[in-house]
């Protein structure tokens, strides 16, 4: 459905997208993650035909982006970043306007589609109002409505939940869930929790390069060479800290303070995924420090994201794709 091969885009000396490759089959929901300036929006703009690539190629629905951009745009729905919309037009008029430009020239068919997207995006209550009078949440939904008015095969959504309150985020998430049955979706977001729940696959991009590509659980699993252990013991905290630091296999160690002060302890990062629970247990027994809490934690996607996107700045090699 979407095939990208060594796609590159430069702005002067800055390489915004640096020879990326990926394939997205039909019906997959892909979350595009990366820090600000990583190249997410540029990649999306390249795929929508807004920006021409400098090198590489991309095919969407079997059409070449360079030679057949018009045909691609017919099958594509796009919600740009910040969702720019004209202020001086009424919602239904705007959807009819976009519908006509999308080739829905038959009035009856267009009216059915407008009615359907107004319902799907819960916009019926604000019909009659101009776009400039709408709240950010409603404007975002109008952006989504115009993107799906022509029932596209591919949807590209650049930060669809940006600036929305939790209830609106939930509504947009439900809308995306309802669309994923029949469409290929590529969405970028900063809300990693959302990716975990919405996407079949995550592509993490940093400094124009793909640094990870896989399902959310795969990505979290791939980072299991770094495991964390939370330990809380009763006793002199200074002594406990030095003893824990001396244990073999302990990497970083940070004192953790809970909000209610009940569960103060230490977060230990092990080296090479080593399980430190037994060593900690034996230490506690030997020193006669009662264990109040001992739990091993999986890295959240947010931490995976941080680990992967900070690799480059540390000068280390990016981890392999999973």
């Amino acid at each position: 459905m979407i095939r990208v091969n060594r796609l590159t885009k430069k702005f002067g000396l800055t390489v915004a997208v640096d020879g990326i490759d990926f394939e997205i089959p039909k019906g997959q929901v892909v979350g595009f993650l990366g820090p600000n300036g990583a190249g997410k929006t540029t990649t999306m703009r390249l795929l929508t035909g807004y920006l021409p690539p400098d090198e590489g190629e991309a095919t969407l629905m079997g059409h070449d982006l360079r030679t057949d951009s018009l045909e691609i745009r017919r099958h594509l729905g796009y919600l740009p970043e910040n969702n720019p919309l004209p202020d001086d037009i009424e919602i239904t008029d705007f959807l009819h306007f976009v519908g006509r430009l999308r080739g829905l020239h038959d009035l009856e068919h267009r009216m059915t589609r407008v009615k359907s997207v107004l319902k799907a995006c819960s916009l019926e209550s604000v019909v009659g109002r101009k776009l400039g009078e709408l709240s950010k949440g409603f404007r975002q939904r109008v952006g989504l409505a115009q993107a799906i008015i022509h029932d596209p095969d591919i949807l590209i959504l650049d930060e669809p939940t940006s600036g929305l309150d939790p209830n609106q985020v939930q509504e947009v998430r439900e809308l995306i869930q309802s669309l994923k049955e029949e469409k290929t979706l590529l969405l970028s977001t900063h809300i990693l929790h959302e990716v975990q729940h919405t996407c079949d696959r995550v592509i993490i991009i940093n400094k124009g390069k793909i640094v990870a590509d896989g399902s959310p659980s795969d990505l979290m699993g791939a980072q299991q060479d770094v495991t964390r252990l939370f330990v809380s013991m009763k006793g002199s905290q200074n002594e406990i800290e030095s003893a824990l630091r001396a244990l073999p296999g302990v990497g970083r160690l940070n004192a953790q303070k809970s909000v209610d002060g009940v569960e103060d302890g230490f977060m230990i990062e092990s080296e090479s995924g080593r399980d430190l629970r037994e060593s900690v247990f034996h230490l506690a027994v030997e020193k006669r420090w009662p264990i109040l809490s001992l739990r091993q934690e999986r890295l959240s996607l947010e931490e995976v994201f941080r680990a992967l996107t900070q690799f480059d700045s540390a000068g280390a090699e990016a981890p392999p794709h999973v």
Binding site: R45, T48, G49, Y50, L51, P52, L70, E71, R73, R74, L76, Y78, P80, N82, P84, L85, P86, D88, I89, F97, V98, R100, L101, R102, G103, H105, Q146
Partner: protein, 245 residues
């Protein structure tokens, strides 16, 4: 979908551009300025000269259009680029020619009504003229047609200027500069030697408007306005297709 330019989408864009222009305060200000100035200057002249013709309108209007048209066109594309709506527009299945023609047609429709409003003057003069003397309708309609063609030409230049800048004021200044060139080059044709003088005369809008104002419909004048308008629309398409804003 049409294999070539789809006139339905051009018309959709034109209608949207027209309604956006009509609802904008700038269009209102331009119309008041245009009609107000013409009324203010032409009326005393008309009664002083006691001549049943709209030559005064034909002489004055190009000076006003020199500012009015770039003011009307300055936001056509620059405003879309600045506000980001151009990204949405350019990811719709539209050819750059369709975008440019849609925008231009919307402006042209407004220009048609703006110049059409000047029909008031020939009608007024015809009603005031002595019986038997009458008004030269050919010259009057030629003048109005010439003004409309100037609007189209200036509008195409203004549209191109609007595609060059994100800032409307910059687009306006660029538009005025383009119009200035074609407005004055004919006036200063005497400064050029030999053949260049003829070229300068031909490039200026004045000589073509004068011919039409005499009621002479010469194909060369239509070719001039048509080709110059097309040229600047083509420049706008090239500019849009570069996608470097």
């Amino acid at each position: 979908m049409s294999k070539f330019i789809d006139l339905r989408v051009v018309w959709t864009l034109a209608r949207r551009t027209f309604s956006h222009t009509v609802e904008s305060p700038i269009a209102f200000i331009c119309a008041v300025f245009f009609y107000g100035f013409i009324g203010l200057i032409f009326s005393p002249q008309f009664f002083a000269n006691n001549n049943a013709s709209i030559d005064g309108v034909g002489a004055l209007a190009p000076w006003l259009l020199w500012f009015v048209v770039p003011a009307l066109t300055m936001g056509l594309i620059s405003d879309e680029i600045r506000s980001g709506t151009f990204e949405h527009l350019s990811t719709l299945p539209l050819r750059d020619w369709e975008i440019v023609l849609g925008k231009f047609k919307g402006f042209a429709l407004f220009a048609f009504f703006l110049i059409g409003g000047l029909v008031f003057y020939p009608l007024l003069i015809a009603s005031l003229a002595h019986p038997g003397v009458g008004l030269d309708w050919g010259a009057s309609l030629g003048t109005l047609l010439g003004l409309l063609l100037i609007c189209f030409f200036y509008g195409a230049m203004g549209l191109f200027a609007s595609s060059l800048a994100k800032n409307q004021v910059v687009a306006f200044i660029l538009g005025v500069i383009f119009c200035t060139f074609f407005f004055f080059i004919g006036q200063f044709s005497g400064l050029f030697p030999g053949f260049l003088s003829q070229v300068a005369d031909f490039l200026g809008v004045g000589v073509h408007l004068n011919t039409l104002s005499r009621g002479v419909f010469d194909i060369r004048d239509f070719l001039y306005f048509g080709s110059m308008t097309f040229l600047f629309l083509y420049f706008s398409v090239i500019r849009l297709s570069s996608r470097r804003f």
